[in-house]
Protein backbone atom coordinates (compact mmCIF):
# COMPACT_ATOMS: atom_id res chain seq x y z
CA UNK A 1 0.00 0.00 0.00
CA UNK A 2 1.36 3.36 -0.93
CA UNK A 3 1.26 5.85 1.86
CA UNK A 4 0.59 9.48 2.22
CA UNK A 5 4.30 10.05 2.40
CA UNK A 6 5.06 8.54 -1.01
CA UNK A 7 2.01 10.22 -2.53
CA UNK A 8 3.19 13.57 -1.25
CA UNK A 9 6.53 13.35 -3.03
CA UNK A 10 5.16 13.97 -6.52
CA UNK A 11 5.70 17.48 -7.87
CA UNK A 12 2.00 18.07 -8.20
CA UNK A 13 1.77 21.78 -8.72
CA UNK A 14 4.62 21.84 -11.18
CA UNK A 15 3.03 19.43 -13.63
CA UNK A 16 -0.57 20.31 -13.05
CA UNK A 17 -0.10 23.95 -13.72
CA UNK A 18 1.41 23.02 -17.09
CA UNK A 19 3.67 26.03 -16.90
CA UNK A 20 6.27 24.24 -19.01
CA UNK A 21 4.71 24.40 -22.48
CA UNK A 22 6.14 22.36 -25.35
CA UNK A 23 8.58 23.94 -27.80
CA UNK A 24 6.17 24.80 -30.63
CA UNK A 25 9.04 25.43 -33.02
CA UNK A 26 10.82 22.08 -32.65
CA UNK A 27 10.83 19.69 -35.60
CA UNK A 28 9.46 16.96 -33.38
CA UNK A 29 6.50 19.11 -32.33
CA UNK A 30 5.76 20.22 -35.87
CA UNK A 31 5.91 16.65 -37.14
CA UNK A 32 3.39 15.45 -34.55
CA UNK A 33 1.29 18.56 -35.10
CA UNK A 34 1.06 17.86 -38.83
CA UNK A 35 -0.95 14.71 -38.06
CA UNK A 36 -2.96 15.94 -35.08
CA UNK A 37 -3.91 19.14 -36.88
CA UNK A 38 -4.86 17.14 -39.98
CA UNK A 39 -7.13 14.95 -37.88
CA UNK A 40 -8.83 18.02 -36.49
CA UNK A 41 -9.29 19.57 -39.94
CA UNK A 42 -10.56 16.30 -41.40
CA UNK A 43 -12.79 15.81 -38.37
CA UNK A 44 -14.42 19.19 -38.90
CA UNK A 45 -14.86 18.44 -42.62
CA UNK A 46 -16.41 15.05 -41.82
CA UNK A 47 -18.68 16.72 -39.29
CA UNK A 48 -19.82 19.24 -41.91
CA UNK A 49 -20.56 16.53 -44.45
CA UNK A 50 -22.26 14.33 -41.87
CA UNK A 51 -24.64 17.03 -40.64
CA UNK A 52 -25.59 17.85 -44.23
CA UNK A 53 -26.20 14.13 -44.84
CA UNK A 54 -28.30 13.72 -41.69
CA UNK A 55 -30.36 16.64 -43.01
CA UNK A 56 -31.37 14.48 -45.98
CA UNK A 57 -32.84 11.94 -43.55
CA UNK A 58 -34.56 14.60 -41.43
CA UNK A 59 -35.85 17.10 -44.01
CA UNK A 60 -37.80 19.10 -41.44
CA UNK A 61 -34.55 19.75 -39.57
CA UNK A 62 -32.37 20.36 -42.59
CA UNK A 63 -32.08 24.09 -41.88
CA UNK A 64 -30.88 23.54 -38.31
CA UNK A 65 -28.44 20.88 -39.49
CA UNK A 66 -27.11 23.13 -42.22
CA UNK A 67 -26.40 25.74 -39.56
CA UNK A 68 -24.45 23.22 -37.52
CA UNK A 69 -22.59 22.12 -40.65
CA UNK A 70 -21.56 25.71 -41.42
CA UNK A 71 -20.10 26.08 -37.94
CA UNK A 72 -17.90 23.05 -38.58
CA UNK A 73 -16.52 24.64 -41.75
CA UNK A 74 -15.70 27.76 -39.76
CA UNK A 75 -13.85 25.62 -37.23
CA UNK A 76 -11.97 23.92 -40.04
CA UNK A 77 -10.74 27.27 -41.31
CA UNK A 78 -9.65 28.22 -37.80
CA UNK A 79 -7.58 25.07 -37.38
CA UNK A 80 -6.07 25.50 -40.85
CA UNK A 81 -4.90 28.92 -39.69
CA UNK A 82 -3.34 27.30 -36.60
CA UNK A 83 -1.18 25.08 -38.83
CA UNK A 84 -0.17 28.03 -40.98
CA UNK A 85 0.74 30.00 -37.89
CA UNK A 86 3.21 27.31 -36.84
CA UNK A 87 4.46 26.78 -40.41
CA UNK A 88 3.12 23.22 -40.52
CA UNK A 89 1.52 21.41 -43.44
CA UNK A 90 -1.29 19.15 -42.32
CA UNK A 91 -0.90 15.51 -43.34
CA UNK A 92 -4.38 15.11 -44.83
CA UNK A 93 -3.72 11.65 -46.31
CA UNK A 94 -3.03 10.37 -42.80
CA UNK A 95 -6.20 11.99 -41.48
CA UNK A 96 -8.39 10.53 -44.23
CA UNK A 97 -7.11 7.03 -43.45
CA UNK A 98 -7.56 7.74 -39.74
CA UNK A 99 -11.27 8.50 -40.15
CA UNK A 100 -11.92 5.84 -42.83
CA UNK A 101 -13.46 3.11 -40.60
CA UNK A 102 -15.78 5.54 -38.80
CA UNK A 103 -16.56 7.24 -42.11
CA UNK A 104 -17.46 3.84 -43.57
CA UNK A 105 -19.81 3.01 -40.70
CA UNK A 106 -21.50 6.39 -41.02
CA UNK A 107 -22.02 5.94 -44.76
CA UNK A 108 -23.48 2.46 -44.25
CA UNK A 109 -25.92 3.78 -41.65
CA UNK A 110 -26.81 6.73 -43.87
CA UNK A 111 -27.55 4.45 -46.83
CA UNK A 112 -29.80 2.37 -44.57
CA UNK A 113 -31.56 5.50 -43.33
CA UNK A 114 -30.52 4.84 -39.74
CA UNK A 115 -30.79 8.28 -38.12
CA UNK A 116 -29.97 7.13 -34.55
CA UNK A 117 -26.75 5.44 -35.67
CA UNK A 118 -25.74 8.46 -37.73
CA UNK A 119 -26.38 10.76 -34.77
CA UNK A 120 -24.53 8.50 -32.37
CA UNK A 121 -21.47 8.47 -34.62
CA UNK A 122 -21.43 12.18 -35.42
CA UNK A 123 -23.22 14.08 -32.69
CA UNK A 124 -22.16 11.91 -29.76
CA UNK A 125 -18.94 10.06 -30.50
CA UNK A 126 -17.16 12.53 -32.78
CA UNK A 127 -18.34 15.55 -30.81
CA UNK A 128 -17.41 14.01 -27.44
CA UNK A 129 -14.04 13.03 -28.91
CA UNK A 130 -13.52 16.59 -30.12
CA UNK A 131 -14.66 18.19 -26.87
CA UNK A 132 -12.32 16.07 -24.76
CA UNK A 133 -9.37 16.60 -27.09
CA UNK A 134 -9.93 20.36 -27.27
CA UNK A 135 -10.24 20.68 -23.49
CA UNK A 136 -6.98 18.84 -22.97
CA UNK A 137 -5.27 20.70 -25.80
CA UNK A 138 -6.19 24.22 -24.63
CA UNK A 139 -3.78 24.41 -21.64
CA UNK A 140 -0.84 23.15 -23.74
CA UNK A 141 -1.62 24.94 -27.01
CA UNK A 142 0.34 27.82 -28.51
CA UNK A 143 -1.36 31.16 -27.78
CA UNK A 144 -2.83 31.51 -31.28
CA UNK A 145 -4.33 28.00 -31.35
CA UNK A 146 -5.49 28.35 -27.79
CA UNK A 147 -7.74 31.26 -28.58
CA UNK A 148 -9.24 29.56 -31.61
CA UNK A 149 -9.80 26.26 -29.79
CA UNK A 150 -11.49 27.99 -26.86
CA UNK A 151 -14.03 29.44 -29.29
CA UNK A 152 -14.58 26.11 -31.03
CA UNK A 153 -15.15 24.03 -27.91
CA UNK A 154 -18.20 26.09 -26.98
CA UNK A 155 -19.81 25.36 -30.34
CA UNK A 156 -19.14 21.64 -30.07
CA UNK A 157 -21.29 21.43 -26.94
CA UNK A 158 -24.16 22.83 -29.04
CA UNK A 159 -23.69 19.99 -31.51
CA UNK A 160 -23.51 17.33 -28.83
CA UNK A 161 -26.67 18.82 -27.40
CA UNK A 162 -28.46 18.63 -30.76
CA UNK A 163 -27.89 14.87 -31.07
CA UNK A 164 -28.68 14.37 -27.45
CA UNK A 165 -32.06 16.07 -27.68
CA UNK A 166 -33.15 14.18 -30.79
CA UNK A 167 -32.14 10.83 -29.33
CA UNK A 168 -33.79 11.65 -26.01
CA UNK A 169 -37.07 12.37 -27.76
CA UNK A 170 -36.83 9.14 -29.72
CA UNK A 171 -35.17 6.82 -27.21
CA UNK A 172 -38.03 4.34 -26.96
CA UNK A 173 -37.89 3.53 -30.63
CA UNK A 174 -34.11 3.51 -31.01
CA UNK A 175 -32.67 2.07 -27.80
CA UNK A 176 -31.55 -1.21 -29.34
CA UNK A 177 -30.14 0.46 -32.41
CA UNK A 178 -28.10 2.81 -30.21
CA UNK A 179 -26.71 -0.05 -28.16
CA UNK A 180 -25.70 -1.85 -31.33
CA UNK A 181 -24.21 1.34 -32.80
CA UNK A 182 -22.26 1.80 -29.56
CA UNK A 183 -20.89 -1.74 -29.81
CA UNK A 184 -19.92 -1.23 -33.44
CA UNK A 185 -18.34 2.19 -33.13
CA UNK A 186 -16.95 2.79 -29.64
CA UNK A 187 -14.08 0.32 -30.18
CA UNK A 188 -13.17 2.35 -33.29
CA UNK A 189 -12.85 5.48 -31.15
CA UNK A 190 -10.60 3.57 -28.78
CA UNK A 191 -8.40 2.44 -31.70
CA UNK A 192 -8.27 5.98 -33.06
CA UNK A 193 -7.11 7.24 -29.66
CA UNK A 194 -4.46 4.52 -29.51
CA UNK A 195 -3.31 5.48 -32.97
CA UNK A 196 -2.69 9.13 -32.10
CA UNK A 197 -1.42 8.58 -28.55
CA UNK A 198 2.24 9.02 -29.52
CA UNK A 199 1.68 12.26 -31.43
CA UNK A 200 -0.67 13.56 -28.75
CA UNK A 201 2.01 12.91 -26.12
CA UNK A 202 4.42 15.15 -28.04
CA UNK A 203 1.78 17.89 -27.71
CA UNK A 204 1.66 17.05 -23.96
CA UNK A 205 -1.78 15.47 -24.20
CA UNK A 206 -2.00 12.21 -22.24
CA UNK A 207 -3.91 9.30 -23.69
CA UNK A 208 -5.24 8.47 -20.23
CA UNK A 209 -6.73 11.97 -19.93
CA UNK A 210 -8.13 11.82 -23.45
CA UNK A 211 -9.97 8.56 -22.84
CA UNK A 212 -11.37 9.61 -19.48
CA UNK A 213 -12.49 13.03 -20.69
CA UNK A 214 -14.02 11.50 -23.82
CA UNK A 215 -15.95 9.02 -21.68
CA UNK A 216 -17.14 11.76 -19.34
CA UNK A 217 -18.60 13.75 -22.24
CA UNK A 218 -20.05 10.61 -23.84
CA UNK A 219 -21.55 9.33 -20.59
CA UNK A 220 -23.08 12.72 -19.87
CA UNK A 221 -24.80 12.62 -23.23
CA UNK A 222 -26.06 9.07 -22.64
CA UNK A 223 -27.38 10.10 -19.23
CA UNK A 224 -29.20 13.03 -20.77
CA UNK A 225 -30.68 10.75 -23.44
CA UNK A 226 -32.13 8.56 -20.71
CA UNK A 227 -29.91 5.54 -20.24
CA UNK A 228 -29.46 4.29 -16.69
CA UNK A 229 -26.13 4.46 -14.85
CA UNK A 230 -25.53 0.74 -15.21
CA UNK A 231 -26.46 0.67 -18.91
CA UNK A 232 -24.05 3.54 -19.48
CA UNK A 233 -21.23 1.93 -17.54
CA UNK A 234 -21.71 -1.22 -19.59
CA UNK A 235 -21.82 0.73 -22.86
CA UNK A 236 -18.72 2.76 -21.99
CA UNK A 237 -16.67 -0.24 -20.94
CA UNK A 238 -15.96 -1.11 -24.55
CA UNK A 239 -13.92 2.07 -24.85
CA UNK A 240 -11.69 0.98 -21.99
CA UNK A 241 -11.12 -2.67 -22.83
CA UNK A 242 -10.76 -4.69 -25.99
Amino acid sequence: MATLETAAEAPATLELSADALPDFTSANYKDAYSRINAIVIEGEQEAHDNYVSIGTLLPDQADELTKLARMELKHMKGFTACANNLGVTADMAFAKAFFAPLHGNFQTALAAGKVPTCLLIQALLIEAFAISAYHIYIPVADPFARKITEGVVKDEYTHLNYGQEWLKANLDSCREELEQANRDNLPLIRRMLDQVAGDAAVLQMDKEDLIEDFLIAYQEALTEIGFTTREIARMAASALVG
Binding site: A2, T3, A12, L215
Partner: protein
Amino acid sequence: MFGLIGHSSSFEQAQQKAMDLGLEEMAGADLMAWCSAPPQLLETFQVTSQTGKTIQGTYIDSCFVPEMLSRFKTATRKVQNAMELAQKNGINVTALGGFTSIIFENYDLSKFQQIRNTTLQWERFTTGNTHTAWVICQQVERNAPKLGIDLTTAKVAVVGATGDIGSAVCRWLSQRTQVGELLLVARQQQRLQDLQQSLGGGRILSLEEALPEADVVVWVASLPQTLSIDHDSLRKPCLMIDGGYPKNLDAKVAGDGVHVLKGGIVEFWQDIGWQMMEVAEMENPRRHLFACFAEAMLLEFEGIHTNFSWGRNNISLANMELIGGASLRHGFQAIGLAADQLTSALIGRQLAAA
Protein backbone atom coordinates in the same frame (compact mmCIF):
# COMPACT_ATOMS: atom_id res chain seq x y z
CA MET B 1 -29.47 16.00 -1.78
CA PHE B 2 -26.11 15.12 -0.24
CA GLY B 3 -23.30 13.23 -1.93
CA LEU B 4 -20.48 10.93 -0.97
CA ILE B 5 -17.35 10.47 -3.05
CA GLY B 6 -15.56 7.25 -2.30
CA HIS B 7 -13.46 4.49 -3.79
CA SER B 8 -12.72 0.80 -3.42
CA SER B 9 -10.07 -0.13 -0.89
CA SER B 10 -8.04 -2.06 -3.47
CA PHE B 11 -7.94 -2.73 -7.19
CA GLU B 12 -8.95 -6.33 -6.60
CA GLN B 13 -11.99 -5.18 -4.67
CA ALA B 14 -12.91 -2.69 -7.40
CA GLN B 15 -12.85 -5.52 -9.94
CA GLN B 16 -15.04 -7.65 -7.70
CA LYS B 17 -17.51 -4.81 -7.33
CA ALA B 18 -17.61 -4.33 -11.10
CA MET B 19 -18.42 -8.01 -11.42
CA ASP B 20 -21.20 -7.70 -8.84
CA LEU B 21 -22.67 -4.79 -10.80
CA GLY B 22 -22.69 -6.87 -13.98
CA LEU B 23 -19.81 -4.99 -15.59
CA GLU B 24 -17.81 -8.02 -16.66
CA GLU B 25 -15.63 -6.03 -19.06
CA MET B 26 -14.46 -3.72 -16.27
CA ALA B 27 -14.01 -6.61 -13.88
CA GLY B 28 -11.56 -8.15 -16.31
CA ALA B 29 -9.85 -4.90 -17.28
CA ASP B 30 -6.33 -4.05 -16.14
CA LEU B 31 -5.27 -1.16 -13.94
CA MET B 32 -4.38 0.96 -16.99
CA ALA B 33 -7.97 0.75 -18.22
CA TRP B 34 -9.21 1.72 -14.77
CA CYS B 35 -6.91 4.73 -14.83
CA SER B 36 -9.05 6.09 -17.67
CA ALA B 37 -12.40 5.09 -16.21
CA PRO B 38 -14.59 8.09 -15.43
CA PRO B 39 -16.37 8.45 -12.07
CA GLN B 40 -19.71 6.70 -11.73
CA LEU B 41 -22.78 7.77 -9.84
CA LEU B 42 -23.54 4.33 -8.45
CA GLU B 43 -26.54 4.68 -6.21
CA THR B 44 -29.08 7.01 -4.72
CA PHE B 45 -30.79 6.28 -1.43
CA GLN B 46 -32.82 7.78 1.38
CA VAL B 47 -31.69 8.39 4.94
CA THR B 48 -34.13 9.10 7.75
CA SER B 49 -32.95 10.87 10.89
CA GLN B 50 -34.03 9.93 14.38
CA THR B 51 -35.99 13.18 14.23
CA GLY B 52 -38.04 11.81 11.34
CA LYS B 53 -36.54 14.00 8.65
CA THR B 54 -35.72 12.18 5.40
CA ILE B 55 -33.06 13.25 2.92
CA GLN B 56 -31.78 11.90 -0.40
CA GLY B 57 -28.20 10.82 -0.88
CA THR B 58 -26.06 9.67 -3.74
CA TYR B 59 -22.82 7.73 -3.90
CA ILE B 60 -20.20 8.53 -6.50
CA ASP B 61 -17.37 6.08 -7.01
CA SER B 62 -14.36 8.03 -8.16
CA CYS B 63 -12.94 4.89 -9.83
CA PHE B 64 -9.75 5.69 -7.92
CA VAL B 65 -8.02 2.77 -6.23
CA PRO B 66 -5.08 3.07 -3.79
CA GLU B 67 -2.82 1.41 -6.38
CA MET B 68 -3.08 4.70 -8.35
CA LEU B 69 -1.53 6.79 -5.55
CA SER B 70 1.88 6.76 -7.18
CA ARG B 71 0.34 8.14 -10.40
CA PHE B 72 -0.42 11.61 -9.14
CA LYS B 73 -1.97 12.91 -12.36
CA THR B 74 -4.35 9.99 -12.43
CA ALA B 75 -5.15 10.35 -8.75
CA THR B 76 -5.85 14.08 -8.99
CA ARG B 77 -7.94 13.65 -12.13
CA LYS B 78 -10.10 11.03 -10.39
CA VAL B 79 -10.83 13.39 -7.52
CA GLN B 80 -11.51 16.41 -9.72
CA ASN B 81 -13.74 14.48 -12.11
CA ALA B 82 -15.74 12.97 -9.26
CA MET B 83 -16.25 16.45 -7.78
CA GLU B 84 -17.35 17.78 -11.16
CA LEU B 85 -19.84 14.93 -11.49
CA ALA B 86 -21.25 15.69 -8.03
CA GLN B 87 -21.65 19.36 -8.85
CA LYS B 88 -23.19 18.67 -12.27
CA ASN B 89 -25.77 16.50 -10.52
CA GLY B 90 -26.75 19.48 -8.41
CA ILE B 91 -25.72 17.91 -5.11
CA ASN B 92 -25.80 20.49 -2.30
CA VAL B 93 -23.03 19.08 -0.17
CA THR B 94 -20.64 16.26 -0.95
CA ALA B 95 -18.10 14.66 1.37
CA LEU B 96 -14.72 13.60 0.06
CA GLY B 97 -14.11 10.15 1.51
CA GLY B 98 -11.11 7.86 1.90
CA PHE B 99 -8.04 8.99 -0.02
CA THR B 100 -9.93 11.61 -2.01
CA SER B 101 -9.71 14.34 0.63
CA ILE B 102 -6.07 13.42 1.29
CA ILE B 103 -5.30 13.76 -2.42
CA PHE B 104 -7.18 17.05 -2.55
CA GLU B 105 -5.17 18.50 0.29
CA ASN B 106 -1.78 17.01 -0.55
CA TYR B 107 -1.85 18.12 -4.15
CA ASP B 108 -3.37 21.46 -3.26
CA LEU B 109 -6.24 20.97 -5.68
CA SER B 110 -7.93 24.13 -4.45
CA LYS B 111 -5.67 25.87 -6.98
CA PHE B 112 -7.52 24.15 -9.81
CA GLN B 113 -11.09 25.28 -9.73
CA GLN B 114 -11.81 24.98 -13.44
CA ILE B 115 -12.55 21.46 -14.66
CA ARG B 116 -13.29 21.63 -18.40
CA ASN B 117 -16.34 23.91 -18.65
CA THR B 118 -17.23 23.58 -14.96
CA THR B 119 -16.05 25.95 -12.24
CA LEU B 120 -16.05 23.91 -9.05
CA GLN B 121 -17.97 25.61 -6.26
CA TRP B 122 -16.05 24.77 -3.11
CA GLU B 123 -19.04 25.54 -0.91
CA ARG B 124 -20.63 22.34 -2.23
CA PHE B 125 -17.89 20.14 -0.73
CA THR B 126 -16.65 19.14 2.68
CA THR B 127 -13.78 17.00 3.86
CA GLY B 128 -15.95 15.89 6.75
CA ASN B 129 -12.96 16.38 9.05
CA THR B 130 -14.83 18.37 11.71
CA HIS B 131 -17.16 15.48 12.42
CA THR B 132 -14.32 12.97 12.20
CA ALA B 133 -12.31 14.94 14.77
CA TRP B 134 -15.31 15.21 17.09
CA VAL B 135 -16.03 11.48 16.79
CA ILE B 136 -12.41 10.58 17.54
CA CYS B 137 -12.47 12.76 20.66
CA GLN B 138 -15.68 11.04 21.77
CA GLN B 139 -14.02 7.69 21.23
CA VAL B 140 -11.12 8.71 23.47
CA GLU B 141 -13.34 10.13 26.20
CA ARG B 142 -15.76 7.20 26.29
CA ASN B 143 -13.50 4.21 25.78
CA ALA B 144 -10.40 5.04 27.83
CA PRO B 145 -12.31 4.80 31.15
CA LYS B 146 -13.75 1.43 30.08
CA LEU B 147 -10.18 0.09 29.95
CA GLY B 148 -9.41 1.49 33.37
CA ILE B 149 -7.50 4.45 31.96
CA ASP B 150 -8.11 7.61 33.98
CA LEU B 151 -7.95 10.43 31.45
CA THR B 152 -7.11 13.04 34.07
CA THR B 153 -3.76 11.38 34.66
CA ALA B 154 -3.33 9.72 31.24
CA LYS B 155 -0.84 10.67 28.58
CA VAL B 156 -2.53 10.91 25.21
CA ALA B 157 -0.29 10.82 22.14
CA VAL B 158 -1.63 12.30 18.91
CA VAL B 159 0.29 10.96 15.91
CA GLY B 160 -0.21 13.37 13.06
CA ALA B 161 -0.88 16.17 15.54
CA THR B 162 -0.33 19.00 13.07
CA GLY B 163 -2.76 17.71 10.45
CA ASP B 164 -6.28 19.02 10.00
CA ILE B 165 -7.92 16.33 12.14
CA GLY B 166 -4.93 15.94 14.49
CA SER B 167 -4.75 19.59 15.43
CA ALA B 168 -8.50 19.73 16.04
CA VAL B 169 -8.27 16.65 18.27
CA CYS B 170 -5.43 18.30 20.22
CA ARG B 171 -7.41 21.51 20.67
CA TRP B 172 -10.49 19.63 21.86
CA LEU B 173 -8.61 17.37 24.25
CA SER B 174 -6.64 20.24 25.76
CA GLN B 175 -9.56 22.65 26.10
CA ARG B 176 -12.66 20.51 26.52
CA THR B 177 -11.29 17.61 28.56
CA GLN B 178 -8.99 17.13 31.51
CA VAL B 179 -6.39 14.83 29.90
CA GLY B 180 -3.22 14.46 31.94
CA GLU B 181 -0.78 15.32 29.19
CA LEU B 182 -0.79 15.60 25.42
CA LEU B 183 2.14 14.09 23.51
CA LEU B 184 2.49 15.74 20.12
CA VAL B 185 3.93 13.66 17.28
CA ALA B 186 4.34 14.78 13.68
CA ARG B 187 7.04 15.07 11.04
CA GLN B 188 7.35 18.82 10.69
CA GLN B 189 9.03 20.44 13.67
CA GLN B 190 8.03 24.01 12.91
CA ARG B 191 4.37 23.12 12.67
CA LEU B 192 4.68 21.15 15.92
CA GLN B 193 6.13 24.13 17.72
CA ASP B 194 3.40 26.39 16.36
CA LEU B 195 0.79 23.91 17.52
CA GLN B 196 2.35 23.61 20.98
CA GLN B 197 2.34 27.37 21.30
CA SER B 198 -1.28 27.69 20.20
CA LEU B 199 -2.33 24.97 22.64
CA GLY B 200 -0.29 26.47 25.44
CA GLY B 201 1.06 23.04 26.31
CA GLY B 202 1.72 19.51 25.18
CA ARG B 203 5.09 17.81 24.84
CA ILE B 204 6.74 17.33 21.45
CA LEU B 205 8.15 13.84 21.05
CA SER B 206 9.26 11.47 18.32
CA LEU B 207 7.02 8.49 17.66
CA GLU B 208 9.56 6.16 19.29
CA GLU B 209 9.65 8.31 22.41
CA ALA B 210 5.91 8.84 22.65
CA LEU B 211 4.63 5.30 22.25
CA PRO B 212 6.09 3.77 25.43
CA GLU B 213 4.71 6.68 27.48
CA ALA B 214 1.21 6.82 26.06
CA ASP B 215 -1.92 5.41 27.66
CA VAL B 216 -3.93 6.48 24.66
CA VAL B 217 -2.63 6.87 21.11
CA VAL B 218 -4.68 8.69 18.49
CA TRP B 219 -3.39 7.88 15.01
CA VAL B 220 -4.47 10.39 12.44
CA ALA B 221 -1.59 9.98 10.00
CA SER B 222 -1.38 7.30 7.34
CA LEU B 223 0.96 4.60 8.57
CA PRO B 224 3.90 3.66 6.43
CA GLN B 225 3.83 -0.01 5.48
CA THR B 226 7.27 -0.36 6.98
CA LEU B 227 6.27 0.99 10.40
CA SER B 228 6.94 -1.58 13.10
CA ILE B 229 5.78 -1.12 16.65
CA ASP B 230 7.47 -2.85 19.57
CA HIS B 231 4.48 -4.32 21.35
CA ASP B 232 6.44 -5.03 24.52
CA SER B 233 7.39 -1.39 24.98
CA LEU B 234 3.75 -0.20 24.98
CA ARG B 235 1.87 0.57 28.17
CA LYS B 236 -0.83 -1.93 29.16
CA PRO B 237 -3.62 -1.16 28.96
CA CYS B 238 -3.25 1.06 25.96
CA LEU B 239 -6.10 2.41 23.84
CA MET B 240 -5.24 3.03 20.22
CA ILE B 241 -7.67 4.94 18.05
CA ASP B 242 -6.93 4.13 14.42
CA GLY B 243 -8.14 7.31 12.79
CA GLY B 244 -5.93 7.18 9.72
CA TYR B 245 -6.75 5.87 6.31
CA PRO B 246 -6.46 3.04 5.47
CA LYS B 247 -7.13 1.40 8.82
CA ASN B 248 -4.32 -1.10 9.12
CA LEU B 249 -3.21 -0.69 12.72
CA ASP B 250 -5.12 -3.61 14.18
CA ALA B 251 -2.94 -6.27 12.59
CA LYS B 252 0.23 -4.49 13.72
CA VAL B 253 -0.32 -4.14 17.44
CA ALA B 254 -3.65 -5.38 18.79
CA GLY B 255 -3.72 -7.91 21.61
CA ASP B 256 -2.41 -8.46 25.11
CA GLY B 257 -3.50 -5.21 26.70
CA VAL B 258 -3.35 -3.10 23.54
CA HIS B 259 -6.84 -2.32 22.27
CA VAL B 260 -7.38 -0.91 18.82
CA LEU B 261 -10.55 0.95 17.93
CA LYS B 262 -11.43 2.01 14.40
CA GLY B 263 -11.36 5.77 14.64
CA GLY B 264 -13.78 8.13 12.99
CA ILE B 265 -16.44 5.49 12.36
CA VAL B 266 -20.03 6.03 13.42
CA GLU B 267 -23.06 3.82 13.73
CA PHE B 268 -26.44 5.06 12.52
CA TRP B 269 -29.57 4.35 14.53
CA GLN B 270 -31.16 2.26 11.78
CA ASP B 271 -30.22 0.40 8.61
CA ILE B 272 -29.52 2.50 5.53
CA GLY B 273 -30.63 1.03 2.21
CA TRP B 274 -27.32 1.27 0.40
CA GLN B 275 -24.62 -1.09 -0.78
CA MET B 276 -21.66 1.28 -0.73
CA MET B 277 -20.30 0.65 2.77
CA GLU B 278 -19.69 -2.98 1.88
CA VAL B 279 -16.79 -1.82 -0.24
CA ALA B 280 -15.35 0.02 2.76
CA GLU B 281 -15.24 -3.29 4.62
CA MET B 282 -17.37 -2.07 7.51
CA GLU B 283 -18.33 -4.55 10.17
CA ASN B 284 -21.99 -3.64 9.82
CA PRO B 285 -22.21 -2.04 6.38
CA ARG B 286 -25.88 -1.10 6.72
CA ARG B 287 -25.23 1.07 9.78
CA HIS B 288 -21.51 1.78 10.04
CA LEU B 289 -19.97 4.57 8.01
CA PHE B 290 -17.11 7.03 7.98
CA ALA B 291 -17.79 10.10 10.11
CA CYS B 292 -16.75 12.27 7.17
CA PHE B 293 -19.59 10.83 5.10
CA ALA B 294 -21.95 11.29 8.02
CA GLU B 295 -20.96 14.97 8.06
CA ALA B 296 -22.44 15.45 4.57
CA MET B 297 -25.66 13.86 5.82
CA LEU B 298 -25.69 16.06 8.91
CA LEU B 299 -25.17 19.22 6.89
CA GLU B 300 -28.06 18.22 4.64
CA PHE B 301 -30.27 17.35 7.62
CA GLU B 302 -29.46 20.72 9.15
CA GLY B 303 -29.70 22.65 5.87
CA ILE B 304 -26.12 23.91 6.29
CA HIS B 305 -25.03 24.23 2.68
CA THR B 306 -21.49 25.49 3.07
CA ASN B 307 -18.07 23.87 2.88
CA PHE B 308 -18.21 23.23 6.59
CA SER B 309 -14.81 21.50 6.76
CA TRP B 310 -12.39 22.98 4.27
CA GLY B 311 -8.72 23.85 4.10
CA ARG B 312 -6.14 23.00 6.69
CA ASN B 313 -6.44 23.70 10.40
CA ASN B 314 -9.68 25.61 10.17
CA ILE B 315 -11.67 23.34 12.48
CA SER B 316 -13.02 25.32 15.41
CA LEU B 317 -14.23 23.90 18.72
CA ALA B 318 -17.54 25.69 18.14
CA ASN B 319 -18.03 23.83 14.85
CA MET B 320 -17.06 20.55 16.50
CA GLU B 321 -19.72 21.16 19.11
CA LEU B 322 -22.25 22.13 16.46
CA ILE B 323 -21.68 19.03 14.32
CA GLY B 324 -21.41 16.83 17.42
CA GLY B 325 -24.79 18.02 18.65
CA ALA B 326 -26.32 17.37 15.23
CA SER B 327 -24.68 13.95 15.14
CA LEU B 328 -26.35 12.86 18.38
CA ARG B 329 -29.67 14.45 17.44
CA HIS B 330 -29.94 12.65 14.11
CA GLY B 331 -28.97 9.25 15.46
CA PHE B 332 -25.24 8.78 15.00
CA GLN B 333 -23.00 7.30 17.63
CA ALA B 334 -19.24 6.84 17.63
CA ILE B 335 -18.38 3.15 17.58
CA GLY B 336 -16.76 1.88 20.75
CA LEU B 337 -14.73 -1.08 21.91
CA ALA B 338 -16.42 -4.41 21.20
CA ALA B 339 -17.66 -6.64 24.02
CA ASP B 340 -14.82 -9.13 23.55
CA GLN B 341 -12.25 -6.33 23.75
CA LEU B 342 -13.77 -5.11 27.02
CA THR B 343 -13.89 -8.64 28.43
CA SER B 344 -10.23 -9.23 27.68
CA ALA B 345 -9.40 -5.84 29.20
CA LEU B 346 -11.28 -6.75 32.36
CA ILE B 347 -9.51 -10.11 32.65
CA GLY B 348 -6.19 -8.34 32.15
CA ARG B 349 -6.97 -5.91 34.97
CA GLN B 350 -8.04 -8.72 37.30
CA LEU B 351 -4.85 -10.66 36.57
CA ALA B 352 -2.76 -7.58 37.24
CA ALA B 353 -4.58 -7.00 40.55
CA ALA B 354 -4.03 -10.63 41.62
